[in-house]
Structures are given as structure tokens and as C-alpha cells.
């Protein structure tokens, strides 16, 4: 790597003497190589957002722009009870999911850190819910939580709640939704934190041990401070995921009961693809996207601290 650097610097010095070389054939080749990538991202990520922004200013009747509404759609969306309720649901869901996912991910990372045979297998097992389709994961949990399966009846029976349906009560439905997130995404937190743990030099722990620090002291004084960036990376990336996720609520609870688990992602989906209010749906999508930009910005800042951009 250092050899490569040396060559690059030499070439760069050469370039400085010949200012015309900026439009070198190499740069032309390079842009030719990255062009398909840039076109794909412009066409399928940037263009939709631009078109969505345009549509959000109109009343749209099944993809026909009928009447210019200015920011009217935004006002309608922000003042609608459905959206306001969904924001509360999203906040509750994200906060609890984040808390449990990161804590459990940390516990798993600490427990499975050593590279023993058992731990390698355990890591793979914990990752299975993460690698399978989200749809199937939520479907399987829905079957477990449903009264028909008889499992919840067996567990709750001794408490006199044999007929209680977990997904029909607002509080337990929200808990079920959070459990879906924790079941699937703790593995992600674990992987990020494991990578961080691997980077902590073992001598630090050995030295602390010699100085008489117990396990709790070593965790709070060495592990936690040195894991700050990985923890923040896990938090930000999980938050982006939780704030936007649609599948959990759509498949597990369907947003019910009484819209108690209808997150903003689901509200947007219903507005667009069930009610076909495309103008308002685009307005809500863009509002959420602006919020996401803040999180993405935080993610980028952390990325620069986590590692440099060079390979």
C-alpha cells in the first residue's frame, strides 16, 4: 500500500508541472467507467425524488396532475390525525427497538467475542433471522403470536389469560412489533460491535487486570469508551432502519389494533397504494426523506471517523 502511495505522489507532482494534464485521457476513461453507475443512481434514486417533489405540489387523481396546490399537500399531511398518530407510533417503536437491539447486540458481542468453534456457530445462528427475508420473519412471528397457534395460550394460560390475543391489544401489539425488530436486528448490532471489539488491543485489558480492575471496571473504563464510534454507527444505522421500516408493521400487526402500531412508513404506504392519494403520499415521503437526510449526514460523519475513504 505504501508503495502505491509513493507512485501516486510522484505522478501527482508530475501533474502539477503540466496543468493541462487535468483533462488527461485517464480522467476521461475514469468517467467512462463510472458513467453507468452514475446514470443508474440518477435514474432510479435521484429522478424519482425529483418527480415526487413535483407531484407533491399537485392534487393527483390516479397519476393525473389535476390542480396545483403549492404546499397544500404538505399542510394536509402534517395536520392529518393519521399521520400524527403514526409519528407517535414510530417514535415509540424506534425508541424501544433501539434500546433493546443495541443492548442485546452488545451482550451478544461480548459473549461471543472469542473465536471459539462454539461461538462461530452461535454467531451464525443469531444471524439467521437477519439474513432471511423480513417478510417471512414477520410472518413466522405473526403465526407464533396468533391465538390460533396455541403457543401464547400455553404460555399465558397459567396467568388466567388463555384467551388473550397479543396482537389485539394496543400495548402488547406494540411490544410484539418491537420484539420483531429485536429478534431480527440485534444480530446487526452484534456484528458492528464485534468489529469494534476486535479493534481494541488485548494488552489494555491485560494491563487493567494487572492494576486490579474487575470485569465491570474493564467494561466501563476500556470497552465502552473505545467502542464509542461503533456504538454510534450501530445506533444511527438502526435508527434509519427503524424510522422507515414498513414490513414489520404491515405483516405482523397490519398497523392495528386501532392504528396503534401504524408507523409512518406504513401510513405512507397506505396513503399511496391503498388510498392512491399520490400527491399527499409524495409530500409525506419527502418530509420523511428530509428527516432521513439528517440521519444519513450523521452516518457519513461517523463513517469518516470509523475509517478513511481509502481502501
Amino acid at each position: 500500500m505504501s508503495g502505491e502511495r509513493a507512485i501516486e505522489t510522484k505522478e501527482r507532482e508530475g501533474l502539477r508541472r503540466r496543468p493541462k494534464a487535468r483533462r488527461s485521457p485517464e480522467a476521461a476513461t475514469a468517467w467512462g467507467f463510472v458513467l453507468p453507475l452514475v446514470v443508474a443512481e440518477l435514474a432510479f434514486v435521484a429522478a424519482p425524488l425529483a418527480l415526487g417533489a413535483w407531484y407533491s405540489l399537485f392534487r393527483v387523481d390516479y397519476f393525473e396532475l389535476t390542480e396545483f396546490r403549492g404546499l397544500g399537500n404538505y399542510w394536509t399531511v402534517l395536520t392529518s390525525t393519521m399521520v400524527q398518530q403514526s409519528l407517535v407510533a414510530t417514535l415509540l417503536f424506534s425508541a424501544f427497538s433501539l434500546l433493546f437491539t443495541v443492548s442485546l447486540g452488545m451482550a451478544l458481542a461480548l459473549r461471543l467475542e472469542a473465536d471459539t468453534r462454539t461461538n462461530t456457530w452461535m454467531r451464525a445462528i443469531v444471524l439467521v433471522p437477519y439474513v432471511i427475508s423480513m417478510l417471512v420473519g414477520s410472518l413466522l412471528l405473526r403465526w407464533i403470536y396468533s391465538r390460533d397457534a396455541g403457543l401464547s395460550g400455553m404460555l399465558l394460560g397459567p396467568f388466567g389469560l388463555a384467551d388473550f390475543s397479543l396482537l389485539a391489544d394496543p400495548a402488547t401489539a406494540m411490544a410484539a412489533l418491537v420484539s420483531n425488530a429485536v429478534w431480527r436486528d440485534s444480530a446487526f448490532a452484534m456484528i458492528v460491535l464485534l468489529a469494534g471489539l476486535k479493534a481494541i488491543p488485548g494488552q489494555l485489558y491485560a494491563a487493567a487486570r494487572v492494576d486490579g480492575a474487575g470485569p465491570w471496571m474493564r467494561f466501563t473504563r476500556i470497552t465502552l469508551p473505545l467502542l464509542r464510534v461503533p456504538i454510534l454507527i450501530a445506533v444511527v444505522r438502526l435508527l434509519i432502519h427503524f424510522v422507515n421500516v414498513l414490513t414489520f408493521a404491515l405483516v405482523l400487526t397490519g398497523g392495528g389494533p386501532n392504528n396503534a402500531t401504524q408507523t409512518t412508513g406504513l401510513a405512507m404506504y397506505r396513503l399511496g397504494f391503498v388510498d392512491f392519494r399520490i400527491g399527499e403520499a409524495n409530500a409525506l415521503a419527502l418530509l420523511v426523506f428530509v428527516f432521513n437526510l439528517l440521519l444519513i449526514g450523521a452516518n457519513l460523519a461517523l463513517f469518516r471517523r470509523g475509517r478513511s475513504l481509502s481502501p
Binding site: I7, E11, L15, E26, A27, T29, A30, W31, F33, V34, P36, L37, E41, F44, V45, L51, G52, A53, L108, M122, A124, I125, V126, L127, V128, P129, V131, S133, M134, L135, V136, L139, L140, L141, W143, D148, A149, G150, L151, M154, W183, V192, A199, R237, V245, T247, G265, M268, F273, I278, L284, A285, L286, V288, F289, I296, L300, L302, R307, P311
Partner: protein
Amino acid sequence: MTQPDPGPLPRPAAAPPAHRTRSWRRRRAGRRLGGLAADLLIAAVALGPILWGFSTSLKPASEILAYPPELVPSRPTLEHYALLFTTGIHRFVLNSAVVSVVAVLLSLGIGSLAAYALARLRFRGKTALLFGIVALMSIPLPSVLVPTFTLLTSVGLADSLTGLALLYTAYQLPIVVWLLYGYFGSLPIELEQAARIDGCSRIETLRKVVLPLSGPGLVAAGLFVLTFAWNDFVVAVVMVSSESVKTLPVAIYGYLGFYGRDWGPLTASAMLSILPVIAVFLLFQRYFLSGMTGGSIKG
């Protein structure tokens, strides 16, 4: 780390055998038992829902709703799987497979070109491009579905396998480029310089020298796209409505409405979707891990 590495600390001499008293052994056995119990609990929580679904998919319809439930089916049957195939689930499996393979090929092709330029060529705007790629990696898909559906409908690409494959390619390109960029950058540059001196153009160098050396990188990136496209539900459920274009996850979601409380076919279709993924994951585990942190941490 700037301070010099003092090397491994001298380990304390092994405890003399006198310390291995009976109580020491008992405590060690207790710890091992506790560890085993914790591992079993973790595995049960992680795999429980999947195993329970598998068990349900093998039960005859009459026993699925039996109370108390049987954990292991006493009279296993494949009737639900047979029902799925007689009603044509293989078409949806085929659609999913086609879309996934096309997305893998497209994203590896476009991605390796871009990654090579980023890793080896000098041009203005490279840093901006790299930051753009990292930013794109973290865009949450559900938030762009409505605008994307709006666009695809207006250009006639919605409800087609082509549109779906193109979307998957665009969504997975950032991570593919990122993984390959890291991989290409780690190859020895001397081989490429030799190829250049022998008169290879940049594209020939990429095709004849870099790509043949990049098997593991290409496998890691390809597997990432493959599982994403195979698993995707949110993009497909929004873009696709015709029976002939449905992918497996969209079909499974349809079954949820169609079969309602009939969990036999539902869990059977769920198993068909996840078994290939679990198999691929267990075979190629280490490749998955390199992509999951998205290169955000040097591991």
C-alpha cells in the same frame, strides 16, 4: 495506535496442579453448564420461530390448530408443499430467481467498472463520488417507494420484471462498488502495471488481470445482491401487481390474504423462501460479514 507494540505479555505460569482441587473443578463445570444453557437459550430464541414454522408446515391441516399444540408433528406430511406446487408457486420462484440473477450480473458488471476507476484511476470528483456512494448506501428504501412508483408508472416500467431488476441493481450498486473498491485496492498494483506496459488498455487490464484475481470480492458482492433481490418484499409489493410478474415474497404476502388462517400452505411457502438463503448463508458466512458493516468499521 502510535505507541510501540510491547508484544504479548508474558502469561502467568500455568497454575500448579495443586490448585485443581475438587471445588475448582466443580466451579469450572458449573460455568460450562451455565454457558451451555445460555447458548441454548440464545439459539432457541433465534431459531424458534423458524423451527416452529417448519413444524407447522409439516402438520396435516387438522392438527395445525390442535390445542395444546404439538411441537414436533407426529404424522408429518408434505401435503401443503404439494398444494403450493399444484397451484403454481414455481412460477413465482422462477420470477424471483430470474430477477435476482439479472440484478447480480448487472450490478457486478457496472459495479466492477466503477470500482476499478475509483481504486486505480485519478480523476476530479472522486472523493465526492465516494461520499455519494456511502450516502446512497444508507438511504432507506421504504422512504423512496412512493416517488419511485410514481416515476416507474409514468415511464411504463412498473409491473415488469425488467423494472424490478433495474431497481434492485440501482439499490445494490453502492454496496457492490464499495466492496469491490476495497477489494481491488488491496490487490498488488504491479501486475496491472505489467499488463499496461504490455499494451493492455484499462478495460483489458480489468478483464484479464483484476477480475480473475477478485473471485472472493465478486462472490461477496454477488451474494449480497442475490440475497437482497431474493428476499426483497417492499419494493416488489409496490411495483408489481400482475400474477405473471409476482416474485416469491409478493406471492407469499398474497397467500396471507388468500389462505387467511390456513397456516399450513403459508408456513410451507415461507420455508421455500428461506431454505435457500439459509443454505447459502451457512456455506458462505464470512462473505456476508464483510458486507454487513458496509465497510464502516475496519474489521
